[in-house]
């Protein structure tokens, strides 16, 4: 134990008493862009009132709500629909093109249709195969954001699914749920949304699922199939369609034969 005499106490504490306080004002947000933000706010309010409200409460949305119960996800099907529209447009354009032979027009249209079909099938298969790996990635992402381990998360989700299954079976016995319905085990996104009220993380995890579909379908539709199909189409065209008797030299032919530059 140390004991010191309190002499010269005032000098030692002068610094504490005369400490300068920080009295300056903190800078506020600038008001320069206020009229712009007000305009954006008002315009989005009008859009929400007269467009989104009418759209979400229209008979079209009622129809969609009834008939899309069995769909798990929607982003992939919408992308397929978009590519149907685009490839249909390209096919009709090639069939109406008067600068080409009628035989060549047919082959090009068939070529574009076949690429669409093959790429859709490929993308669905790859999307299904990548489910498990992407789920692991999302769990790692969630673990980093929640500051836990992946193993603890896995255990919690398993326990949560067991509880849900018990409730589901109880409801089936009572009769609230039909016997044909199957129990779907919840994944990390469902777990976070239902147990935690941290809404930003739930949104991000749903976004991860959307990102996966966008990446898979996007790369196959816009990168792999056009790049892989052009040399094959050229080879087929040169070998089978143009016999050496009827061969005519023409420049810039393959510019019309490149399918689907979307």
């Amino acid at each position: 134990m140390k004991v010191t005499l309190q002499t010269n106490n005032y000098k030692n504490n002068v610094r504490d008493n005369n400490r300068q306080t920080f009295g300056a004002k903190l800078p506020e947000k600038s008001k320069f862009l206020d009229p712009y933000y007000k305009f954006v706010d008002k315009s989005t309010n009008t859009i929400a009132k007269y467009y989104t409200a009418k759209l979400y409460e229209s008979p079209l949305s009622a129809f969609l709500a009834k008939h899309t119960e069995k769909l798990k996800s929607v982003v992939d099907h919408m992308q397929v629909a978009g590519s149907i529209v685009i490839s249909g447009m390209y096919m009709s354009q090639t069939l109406r093109n008067n600068q080409l032979d009628p035989q060549k027009r047919k082959t090009l249209a068939i070529n574009q249709g076949l690429t669409f079909i093959v790429s859709t099938i490929l993308s669905y298969i790859i999307d299904q195969r990548l489910d498990n790996n992407w789920e692991k990635l999302t769990r790692r992402y969630a673990a980093v954001n929640l500051e836990t381990d992946v193993d603890t998360l896995n255990k919690k989700i398993e326990l949560w699914n067991i509880e849900n299954k018990k409730k589901f079976d109880a409801k089936v016995l009572i009769g609230d749920i039909g016997k044909d319905e199957k129990f779907r085990a919840g994944q990390i996104a469902d777990y976070v949304e239902k147990t935690m009220k941290n809404t930003s993380l739930a949104k991000e995890l749903k976004g991860m699922g959307v990102l996966k579909k966008l990446l898979v379908f996007g790369t196959i539709y816009r990168f792999i199939s056009p790049v892989a199909v052009t040399p094959i189409a050229n080879w087929i065209g040169n070998k089978f369609i143009y016999k050496p008797e009827n061969h005519q030299p023409s420049a810039n032919k393959d510019a019309e034969s490149t399918p689907k530059a979307k």
Partner: protein, 284 residues
């Protein structure tokens, strides 16, 4: 008289063990000498405190970018779709097309890569300008939906409040109408509103959000891409697309050849006929 604080005492407490990660995370309270629970969160400035401050975890740059992309994917799906298309069409595809083997088709390759760059740019710019305000409006709409969900949950949990009408729920809401509850609401056996069906709501809203871009804007985008290809070819690749030269067909030469041959045959024939000798000119 000043007595120094008890903090300056050298208490015999457990030495700081830095061998394992678990031991490192177990902090010791200096005042009391007691071990605290595993506080891997509060390493650093607040080490040793028993309060967790709920601060945001330190994320690397990649994770922050991924966070932004995920929020974009969920809020503005169309813009995310076109962003993916932009990266592929402007970055990877031209390189892949030009690196394909074949020297004869150089012009075609350049045209195709110009087409892909134009389509990527136009798609992204067009859809981001048009769909961004629609996305913000949808966000505002969904905020009101979530407030309704919370009130419904409270009403169902507090079993004292048994009866509530739709009009009470929709009090003070600017955007939502009764039809919304009829479409997306789940009802009891007696016809009472229990909750809003989250999954159908998500599905239909995402379909309706993506529908304009897939079905309506495709034609406009295609026309704009075709218009944008020549400037890109000029300024990016330094190539101007010349008009196709009309190739000289073999038929013309054949005709010319045939005509001369035929003429020779005719003159030979008529020269042998005696009566025509007087008719034909030339040196006899």
């Amino acid at each position: 008289m000043k007595v120094d604080s008890i903090k300056d005492y050298h208490i015999l407490y457990k030495q700081y063990d830095s061998s394992t990660k678990e031991a490192r995370n177990k902090s010791v309270n200096i005042v009391t000498g007691c071990e605290s629970a595993d506080k891997s969160v509060n390493t650093g400035y607040y080490r040793g405190s028993s309060i967790s401050f709920g601060a945001a975890p330190k994320l690397s740059k990649g994770m922050k970018l991924l966070k932004k992309i995920n929020t974009l994917c969920q809020d503005h799906k169309v813009i995310a779709q076109n962003l993916v298309a932009l990266v592929l069409a402007v970055g990877f595809r031209p390189i892949a097309i030009i690196s394909l083997p074949g020297k004869k088709n150089k012009d075609d390759k350049i045209y195709a890569s110009g087409h892909s760059i134009a389509s990527g740019l136009i798609g992204f710019i067009f859809s981001s300008i048009v769909m961004y305000p629609l996305g913000i409006a949808a966000k505002k709409y969904m905020k009101e939906v979530e407030s309704i969900k919370d009130t419904l949950q409270e009403m169902v949990e507090n079993k004292n409040i048994k009866t509530f009408s739709k009009k009470e729920l929709l009090k003070g809401k600017e955007f939502i109408g009764e039809n919304f509850l009829n479409i997306f609401g789940e009802f009891d056996k007696n016809g009472k509103l229990i909750k809003i069906n989250r999954k159908t709501l998500e599905r239909t809203t995402s379909i309706l959000e993506m529908a304009p871009d897939t079905f309506v804007f495709g034609v406009a985008k295609a026309m704009l891409t075709v218009a944008l290809i020549p400037p890109i070819l000029k300024y990016v690749f330094g190539v101007e697309k010349h008009k196709e030269k009309v190739p000289v067909t073999d038929d013309k030469t054949k005709l010319e050849k045939k005509s001369t041959e035929e003429q020779k045959n005719i003159t030979n024939y008529f020269s042998k006929v005696p009566s025509m000798k007087n008719f034909l000119g030339g040196v006899k």
